[in-house]
């Protein structure tokens, strides 16, 4: 139908094209026909070329993106594995530092014989302060033995089983210890009960005790539980209670009572001190 209607026109066009091709083939250099053909066709060829280039570029980019995504996934996996490994190393290093500190304390001349233990559980209630350690009667532990970490005294053994022991921390409301201001030599008693804080409260026997902020506090040996001379902490504030009748001090513990991991149980401690 289409060819029937335009056959004359199409036939003429075909003859013209053949003539043009023949002329351009036979002529030397660029003929006017070639030039004009180029001018007419160039927008189309440019468009097709550009589109082809773009499609090709997008295809190449997609391929690159897929490769990058794979590489990114692999790298992320590797970073996660390395992070976990790094975390393990950091923990091992921290543990190493703590154990070296404990070992240093244990090897100090005159320090009583002791058993190193690891904390395996803590109090689920914030009102009570204790930890459970992984040594018990099988390791020579018994009720009443003092417990320290590398920095200072932390508490005493409250109960013991063959494989574990419960250490009552000095921050517990049922805890107490005889202490002394090492600067002035004045005695006092450390009482627990400051629930929710990391501080100890020390009440001095004398209302006129010359205690001041920064004083070092140590165990006095009174009470027959903690040997004299163990580090307790430093005074951070001083005040009065019971209408000014009792002088007390808040003491920042030397021991890391909030984050205990390893402790030493002083099995050979006498009250006269290390």
């Amino acid at each position: 139908m289409f060819f029937n209607r335009y056959r004359r026109f199409l036939g003429g066009a075909a003859v013209a094209i053949i003539l043009v091709l023949a002329m351009s083939k036979t002529s030397q250099g660029s003929s006017p026909w070639t030039k004009w053909t180029g001018v007419v066709l160039s927008p189309f060829t440019w468009s097709v070329e550009t589109a082809t280039g773009t499609v090709h570029g997008v295809g190449a980019d997609l391929g690159r993106i897929a490769g990058l995504a794979r590489a990114n996934r692999d790298l992320r996996r590797e970073v996660a594995a390395l992070s976990a490994k790094n975390e393990k190393l950091v923990r091992a290093e921290e543990e190493n530092v703590r154990l070296r500190a404990l070992l240093g304390l244990k090897n100090r001349p005159g320090f009583p014989s002791s058993v190193a233990a690891t904390v395996i559980a803590r109090s689920p209630s914030q009102w009570f302060s204790y930890v459970i350690i992984n040594k018990g009667t099988a390791n020579g532990l018994r009720v009443g033995l003092p417990v320290t970490d590398s920095q200072g005294v932390v508490g005493e053994i409250e109960s013991v089983t063959p494989g574990t022991a419960t250490v009552l921390l000095l921050t517990d409301p049922q805890s107490g210890a005889g202490v002394v201001d090492r600067r002035t030599g004045e005695d006092g008693v450390l009482v627990g009960g400051l629930s929710g804080t990391e501080y100890y409260k020390v009440e001095f026997f004398s209302r006129n005790a010359a205690v001041k902020v920064g004083d070092p506090i140590g165990t006095s040996g009174l009470g027959n539980v903690f040997p004299a001379g163990l580090e307790v902490g430093k005074v951070v504030s001083v005040g009065y209670r019971n209408y000014g009748l009792v002088k007390y001090a808040l003491v920042q513990p030397a021991a890391a009572t909030n984050a205990l991991f390893h402790v030493l149980v002083l099995t050979g401690a006498g009250v006269h001190g290390p």
Partner: protein, 166 residues
């Protein structure tokens, strides 16, 4: 039936409470998962289940701490029951409600424990309530949100199963 799973959830919660959570101090306070479960059980399953779950959770804490056996059980039971009673009067699944009930439950529970310890003759610091209960209330208000959302969806799925015609 599946609501009783919460009784089993107390065991891993207790393990976390006695090991990791004391080390994760947030704003000076600790997340009290046992309390959160007490409130969640009461709020979502009613006062009876709340009281039973609170008693069970508190008893576990008492057994682990080994002191004043029954203290946490009694207080946990009261907290679970009150959370359930509160849940019956409000739209329990709406966002702020579990948080508010959890915060209130924390304040109630810690105040009760502090009071009992004073009655038992322990020299616990009065400011201990503020230091322990306030951060704990805030943390409980946050922690209970995803648990309550999960429980709400869980309960809906359970009721869908019950009403489905096979």
């Amino acid at each position: 039936m599946k609501r009783y799973l919460i009784f089993a959830a107390y065991l891993p919660a207790l393990v976390a409470q006695a090991s990791v959570l004391p080390l994760l101090k947030l704003g000076g306070g600790e997340v009290n998962l046992i309390l959160v479960l007490n409130v969640l059980a009461g709020l979502m399953a009613g006062p009876d289940i709340g009281a039973a779950a609170g008693f069970w959770g508190g008893l576990l804490v008492d057994l682990v701490t080994g002191r004043f056996l029954g203290l946490h059980a009694l207080v946990g039971m009261a907290t679970g029951y009150l959370a359930g009673a509160a849940g019956n009067r409000v739209y329990r699944n709406h966002f702020p409600v579990p948080s508010l009930v959890a915060a209130g439950g924390a304040l109630f529970q810690e105040t009760m424990i502090w009071g009992f310890l004073r009655v038992f003759g322990l020299a616990v610091d009065p400011l201990g309530i503020l230091r322990i209960a306030l951060p704990e209330a805030l943390l409980a208000a946050v922690v209970i949100v995803p648990l309550a959302a999960w429980w709400g969806r869980f309960r809906r799925e359970e009721s869908d199963l019950r009403t489905a015609k096979f």
